[in-house]
């Protein structure tokens, strides 16, 4: 566990946390959307541009060597952080792109690209793709597209009233026709942590590929992708204290070497003639064009920062914050929270509806007190529809979130319905 003094020291590393909003000290409870950055991440990008900027994997001059070093040591840092091999980490723009690279890669295979090795990925009419009702649109729409492109059927695992996956019909929904099971590790709305082991076991039984949306787990929990035994995973740098513009696709090495790339062009080929090209092995085959090198350097610093803090401590701290938020929100009259209780396996992402007040209006009143929360559907419209809502307000935490942040938020939240004269 992090002591209050340690959290304070951590906060001092994040320059933005010192600013005021509308005359009040900022309370940032929107880390689920994007996390704030410690100085070391900002410095890493700055340092790259100030001292080492150059093209990577091209050219023999000293700067190119140093830039390539920075780029590849970022990959090593991220691989170590999530229990992957360095050839299993592919840079993308964000998690959304990573998920699209998998879904569209399968579509390419279905269209005959990738040669005989890619035959194993063939998917078509009679096959099914399974997602869950709690997915972020980033892990839903690419699968809708894949279904459209291939004629496969898209199915989903539904939700229970208390924000868990309903797995009663798991064997029926994930069946022998299932080629892909794509699901989130942790819900960005409900906070639920899903039973990866059980889902992966079922997928293995029927020979389906597993795709894990790890956007909301990797920043908040110790995650070992190899131990989880998923085939693919995706996460975003900006949610884990790192820069925007950099995301990660993880894939088991033998899969990445055979999945057809979607983005093609420079830096991903071995030989090219006017008719065709041979692709490099992973990860380069997925890294077409000039890469976000400074962002990789920044992400390397971010995982360094998280590792030094210790992910077990980060998770324990955020579990305590989750408890304060969940229990505090449940005590505010006229507020209906969606998602599991504090006792369940959950992250500190807590969404709720204030009866009689639209989420936009809730967010506005909180902002007036310097409190930043997310309002809307959080890119999860089907999830909201499941609970009879179109929008909610969400408070989400990170390693720098304090109990005092939560208290200020809860006090302001209690004032929302009185402000609008609803009771």
């Amino acid at each position: 566990m992090l002591s209050a003094a340690e959290v304070q020291r951590i906060r001092n590393d994040f320059p933005i946390l010192a600013r005021e909003v509308g005359g009040s000290p900022l309370v940032y409870l929107d880390s689920g959307a994007t996390a704030q950055k410690p100085q070391c991440v900002i410095d890493a990008e700055l340092d790259f541009y100030a001292h080492r900027n150059s093209a990577v994997h091209r050219g023999a001059h000293s700067l190119a060597v140093e830039a390539t070093d920075a780029f590849e040591s970022g990959r090593t840092a991220v691989a170590d952080f999530v229990g992957a091999g360095i050839r299993e980490i592919v840079w993308t723009k964000n998690a959304t792109e990573a998920l699209n690279v998998v879904a569209l890669g399968l579509a390419h295979a279905a269209a005959g690209l990738g040669g005989p090795e890619a035959q194993r990925y063939r998917i078509g009419p009679g096959d099914s793709i399974v997602v869950t009702e709690m997915e972020h649109h980033a892990n839903l729409i690419p699968w809708q597209q894949l279904a459209r492109l291939t004629g496969a059927r898209l199915r989903h695992l539904p939700l229970t009233d208390d924000g868990h996956l309903e797995l009663g019909d798991l064997e029926e929904i994930v069946d022998t026709t299932t080629k892909v099971l794509a699901f989130t590790h942790a819900s960005n709305v409900l906070g639920t942590i899903n039973p990866v082991e059980r889902l992966v076991a079922r997928a293995r039984e029927v020979g389906a590929l597993t795709v894990l949306d790890a956007c909301q787990s990797v920043p908040h929990l110790p995650v070992d992708l190899a131990a989880l035994d998923v085939d693919f995973a995706a996460f975003s740098g900006h949610k884990m204290l790192g820069p925007t513009g950099i995301g990660v696709l993880y894939g088991r090495a033998e899969l990445l070497d055979t999945l057809p790339p979607v983005l093609t062009g420079g830096s991903m080929i071995t030989t090219v003639d006017m008719e065709s090209a041979e692709f490099m092995p992973a990860p380069q085959r997925f890294e077409a064009g000039t890469q976000p090198v400074a962002q990789v350097a920044g992400l390397g610093a971010a995982v360094g920062y998280l590792s030094e803090t210790g992910m077990a401590d980060v998770a324990a701290h955020e579990a305590e914050i989750a408890g304060i938020l969940v229990e505090g929100i449940d005590r505010v009259p006229g507020v209906r929270r969606i998602g599991p209780d504090a006792s369940a396996a959950r992250i500190a992402s807590v969404a709720f509806d204030v009866e009689g007040v639209h989420a936009h209006d809730v967010g506005q009143v909180l902002d007036d007190a310097g409190i930043a929360v997310r309002v809307g559907h959080h890119c999860a419209q089907p999830l909201h529809r499941r609970y009879g809502l179109t929008a909610t307000t969400r408070a989400s935490a990170s390693v720098y979130t304090t109990a005092e942040d939560c208290e200020r938020f809860l006090t302001a939240l209690a004032g929302v319905r009185p402000f609008f004269g609803v009771s």
């Binding site: 509308g22 639209h358 989420a359 936009h360 007036d368 909201h384 929008a391």
Partner: protein, 160 residues
């Protein structure tokens, strides 16, 4: 007045509760309606809020009836209510003038002067223009009515 109080003026809060024009829609009901009829559905993609606005012009009198239904924040609901009042009181021409003035006001970054003669209760939305994230909420129903009216005019062969 704080920015927040300017945003949520009492007029706005009142309209958000007593929603003028928020009534059952005609579209698809089979109920007899004027041939000069238009309907527009608008969505705010950032929050999923949506509204359907119908415009019906009486071919005899030229009177305009507005009906709307939707869900959204207090700004968007109040805006739809205010707009219904203006459009029904002043007709399509009055609405067109108010719509232009409202559009300008919303994009004035808090600097605009609201002309109460043209805008009526919509002048209370001046404070919204200081909040870029909320301008879309205020404009949603106006866009919908403008669109619905264009359809009604086209349907009636009125090319004015």
């Amino acid at each position: 007045m704080s920015d927040l109080q300017q945003l949520y003026q009492q007029v706005i809060l009142d309209h958000a509760k007593q929603r003028y024009g928020n009534r059952p829609l005609l579209g698809g009901t089979g109920i007899d309606r004027s041939p000069q009829f238009g309907s527009s559905h608008q969505v705010n993609p950032t929050c999923g809020d949506e509204i359907t606005v119908e415009a019906e012009i009486d071919p005899g009198t030229g009177a305009l009836t507005v009906r709307w239904d939707g869900q959204g924040c207090s700004i968007s609901m109040a805006s739809a209510s205010v707009l219904t009042e203006i459009a029904e009181d002043t007709g399509p021409e009055g609405f067109a003038a108010a719509e232009a003035a409202f559009h300008t006001l919303m994009h004035s970054r808090g600097q605009g002067e609201a002309d109460e003669d043209v805008l009526g209760d919509a002048a209370a939305f001046q404070g919204v223009s200081k909040f870029p994230a909320r301008i879309k909420c205020a404009l949603l129903s106006w866009m919908a009515l403008k669109d619905a009216l264009a359809q009604a005019h086209a349907a009636g062969g009125d090319h004015a």
